[in-house]
């Protein structure tokens, strides 16, 4: 059983706290995405998990063994992990087959077993025909597949992937995303997948850990992250979320009544939500629409309309709060002149819990 337990992990670089008290529990076989803006410490977390770095505080436990702590560090070669590097890190002086079979060679497998297992691993990623090629003769997507196969052949119990799709073009990304899902099902290994692309994370992961400036801010299923962000940062980071200030929060069963620019709305809130004079509300673009004639909404002044094919993106300033810019998607066939005043309805929202 290889669940991963991370306990209050901190890492400093030259006095700067790059990871700050990160704690999480990853179940065996789970697919986890680690998501966060550039420089937030994702790679550092992965390198700690791999054993390339030692923590300054806290521990990492793989299965029932503590592998990282300030005092002792199990080296990467003894952790039975696999890594898919962002730039693939294929060894240029070895053929594809030798790259894939290297871990088995180190483990002392017979050459027959090695060949068999390399071929199997290459077959999983559809590369069995290119086994004798040199890595330099492969395309980016093919190299990525070889890197996956190399990881797979070693049968690691934990697989770490650091932005594996960052160097690929958009079309290839979609294909490779499917590959990862298949791959995860095939191996059943625990996977930790690093990315700064939230749609990638949402598409792939069982759970997503959002990191901001070295802190773990939320660790939840994609759906919960989207619907119930626990902080403003998450609300904005996931699904182009927008945040506005609302007044007069009144809990009401599983929801709450709040006043949005003077009009009461029923929105979602956590069960323990308190009566508050004001709160921040997370609203997704899809939860805002133009009011039907006669419907009651709030007023906004159109700043800019961008035609996006299947819809028009409308950026507008809220009349009641002229510094606040919001965005909604309108049907593409509705003509909205700039500088026009529109009425906007909010159909769904989530009261961001007060900071603890």
């Amino acid at each position: 059983m290889t669940d991963i337990v991370i306990n209050d992990l901190s890492k400093m670089y030259g006095g700067k706290r790059v990871l700050d008290c990160v704690a999480m529990h990853i179940a065996d076989g789970e697919f986890i995405a680690v998501l966060g803006p550039s420089g937030c410490g994702k790679t550092t977390l992965l390198r700690l998990l791999a054993g390339f770095e030692t923590p300054d505080e806290g521990t990492i436990q793989l299965g029932d063994r503590i592998v990282s702590s300030r005092e002792a560090n199990v080296p990467p070669e003894k952790r039975n992990i696999g890594i898919v590097f962002q730039n693939y890190a294929l060894w240029p002086h070895m053929s594809v087959a030798d790259n894939v079979g290297y871990a088995l060679k180190i483990a002392g497998a017979s050459s027959q077993e090695r060949q068999q297992r390399s071929r199997d691993a290459l077959a999983v990623v559809g590369m069995e025909n290119l086994a004798e090629r040199a890595p330099s003769d492969l395309s980016g997507g093919q190299r990525q597949r070889v890197a996956l196969a190399r990881c797979l052949a070693a049968k690691p119990s934990v697989m770490l992937l650091d932005e594996p799709l960052a160097n690929l073009d958009v079309h290839l990304r979609a294909a490779m995303e499917n590959e990862f899902v298949r791959f995860h099902r095939h191996t059943g290994a625990t996977m930790v997948y690093i990315t700064h692309d939230q749609s990638e994370a949402m598409a792939l992961a069982d759970r997503i850990a959002v990191i901001d400036r070295g802190r773990l801010v939320q660790f939840d299923r994609p759906r919960d992250l989207y619907r119930e962000p626990q902080s403003e940062m998450v609300a904005r980071f996931i699904g182009n979320g927008q945040v506005l200030t609302v007044q007069d929060v009144r809990p009401d069963a599983e929801a709450a009544i709040v006043s949005i620019f003077g009009k009461d709305h029923r929105v979602r809130a956590r069960r323990s939500e308190q009566v508050r004079s004001s709160a921040r509300l997370s609203v997704h673009t899809s939860a805002m629409r133009l009011a039907q004639p006669g419907e009651d909404g709030f007023a906004g002044k159109v700043e800019r309309v961008i035609y996006r094919g299947n819809h028009s993106q409308v950026d507008f300033l809220v009349t009641a709060e002229p510094d606040l810019q919001l965005t909604l998607h309108a049907p593409a066939d509705v003509a909205i002149p700039s500088d026009d005043t529109i009425q906007v309805c909010i159909s769904d929202g989530w009261v961001i819990p007060a900071a603890a």
Partner: protein, 563 residues
């Protein structure tokens, strides 16, 4: 340094520490202690007294004079050469660059010998040209002027290489901007290009200065007969006259010379850093059309090669082909007896060749392995201990070889612990000195090699379960091997004919070929010395040829003679 290195890495690091500590750190420390505290207590009065002696003052002044003036000469020549080859449309650049840089590859004592013979009253070459110098009087090169001239010529390629590198790094946009502002070729060179390459020029100059101070071959071959002592020849002569009993005093002189060198190296490093204009996307290089001046410039540049290289070398060859010094070379006097003597009849010369070949090969083999591991720690593991190792290897390389030799003698004079005998006077002390002196030279290309490979290559092997030695063997060494070979080539070329390190370490039962030229010339066997010199040059040329042949497997830019 990560606090928790796995075991194999500790063992290797430990071995590296022993290597550098035993061969560089401890001997140099011993030298410094002997200089400052000869009797165990710090005695600066003694140091001052020694340095104040007239002999030492004269030698110090002489050293500074020849080093500074020859550096200026090297700067002028090297800069002109670099500007011509990088900036103009001169033809046959590749051949010219090869010929210009070649002197750097020829051992200085052989160069000096060649010049001496070219300008001797009975010079076969001047004779052929119908010229002759006055008989009697002193040889014109046995003078400060002669030393300066030869040092300047010898080190011009050093300046050339750094200035050329600086010119090539110049961002093309700067030049293009100046052109757009209306600057034509010549103002462009003097107002934009040379000022921008200034840092490279000064770095090259500092290098030439340091090399001049420690160039034993030229200073000894010309300075000793001229009775113009410099620090380095003073140390040599005192050691020759008094043997190890002069060591304590020599240590003081060595320390003085080290200080000069270290100041030079520090200045060179500082200037080199400042000169590092890193700009991506270097455009086409600028081609200044020489127009109708082109044939003139080309003729002048080749005339320079003829005068400074072809002339002395042909004099050397001519001398090596006659029976007695001063004989005119003709079909009647032509003989190969000197070569026969050098290669067959004189066991001491033959053995010296073999000893050098063997010592050099062993040095190269050991240093290639050591540098691979050391570069791993320097580039990827860092840490204060590793930095210290790097510093001392660089120091041992930068200090004049003769100083390292004094340090080696001091350190290895006493019988070794456990073994019970002294390696002083054997080939082993020369090997130790070579390992110490040339480590940095072997290391440099490998450091570059490591900097170029992605660390993830190693990490990928690590997560595949490979331990340190397996990673080294399977992944890292195959990737940096070309750089290590390049380092090996440079060490081989430098060590095979070197004179400065072994001149004080050779003994009757351990001779290398480098000092042989000096001994033979001192002993009056000029024709034999010339033959040995020619053989040394042939060895260098063969090495260069082989290295060039395989240059496409080597990292770009490691062979200095390639354009």
């Amino acid at each position: 340094m990560p606090a928790l290195l796995p075991k194999a890495e500790w063992v290797v690091l430990g071995l590296l520490v022993i290597f550098v500590a035993g061969l560089s750190f401890a001997p140099l420390l011993r030298l410094a202690i002997t200089a400052i505290a000869p009797a165990g207590v710090i005695d600066l009065g003694h140091v001052a007294e020694l340095l104040w002696k007239k002999k030492v003052l004269t030698a110090s002044t002489n050293t500074l004079v020849v080093a500074l003036v020859s550096t200026i000469l090297a700067m002028v020549l090297g800069t002109i050469a670099a500007a011509l080859t990088v900036l103009t449309d001169m033809r046959f650049k590749t051949a010219w660059v090869f010929a210009f840089v070649l002197p750097l590859m020829i051992p200085p004592q052989v160069t000096a010998l060649a010049w001496v013979q070219a300008f001797s009253p009975s010079s076969p070459v001047l004779g052929l040209l119908g010229l002759s110098l006055h008989d009697g009087g002193r040889h014109p090169l046995y003078s400060p002027g002669g030393i300066i001239l030869l040092l300047g010529f010898y080190h011009a390629p050093l300046v050339f290489l750094t200035v050329r590198a600086a010119l090539r790094r110049l961002p093309a946009e700067l030049v293009e901007a100046a052109r757009a502002a209306g600057a034509t070729s010549w103002p462009l060179i003097f107002t934009i290009i040379l000022p921008l390459a200034r840092a490279g020029l000064f770095a090259g100059a500092a290098l030439a200065f340091v090399s001049s101070i420690s160039n034993f071959g030229i200073q000894a071959m010309l300075g000793i007969p001229a009775r113009y002592p410099t620090l380095i020849t003073l140390i040599y002569q005192q050691m020759n006259s008094y043997g190890p009993s002069a060591l304590a005093d020599m240590a003081v002189l060595a320390l003085l010379l080290s200080t000069l060198t270290i100041v030079g190296v520090a200045v060179s490093g500082w200037l080199g850093q400042r000169g590092d204009v890193r700009v991506d996307g270097i455009g086409r290089s600028l081609e200044i059309r020489l127009g109708r001046w082109r044939p003139v410039v080309e003729a002048a540049s080749w005339l320079f090669i003829v005068l400074t290289m072809a002339l002395p070398l042909s004099a050397l060859v001519a001398t090596s082909l006659v029976n007695g010094f001063g004989q005119e070379l003709s079909w009647k006097t032509l003989t190969l007896v000197n070569y026969a003597n050098a290669l067959v009849h004189q066991a001491s010369i033959r053995n010296a060749f073999l000893t050098s070949l063997l010592l050099t090969s062993v040095t190269v083999a050991i240093l290639m392995v050591v540098s691979l591991f050391m570069a791993y720690f320097i580039v990827w593991k860092r840490g204060p201990l590793v930095r210290l190792l790097h510093l001392f290897s660089e120091l041992a390389y930068a200090l004049p070889g003769i100083i390292l030799a004094v340090a080696m003698i001091l350190f290895f004079l006493k019988p070794l612990p456990f073994l019970g005998f002294s390696i002083y006077g054997t080939v082993w002390i020369i090997l130790a000195a070579y390992l110490s002196s040339f480590l940095a030279l072997a290391l440099r290309p490998v450091l570059g090699g490591f900097a170029q490979i992605d660390r993830a290559m190693e990490e990928a092997a690590q997560v595949a379960g490979a331990g340190f030695l397996a990673r080294m063997h399977d992944v890292i060494i195959p990737l940096v091997a070309p750089a290590a070979v390049a380092g090996g080539v440079m060490v081989f070329m430098s060590a095979l004919n070197e004179i400065q390190v072994s001149i004080l370490l050779v003994s009757s039962n351990a001779r290398t070929i480098g000092p042989m030229v000096v001994f033979l010339e001192e002993g009056g066997s000029s024709t034999l010395a010339a033959a040995v010199g020619c053989l040394m040059i042939v060895a260098v040329l063969i090495l260069m040829l082989v290295a060039t042949r395989f240059s496409r497997y080597l990292p770009k830019g490691v062979l200095p003679w390639q354009n």
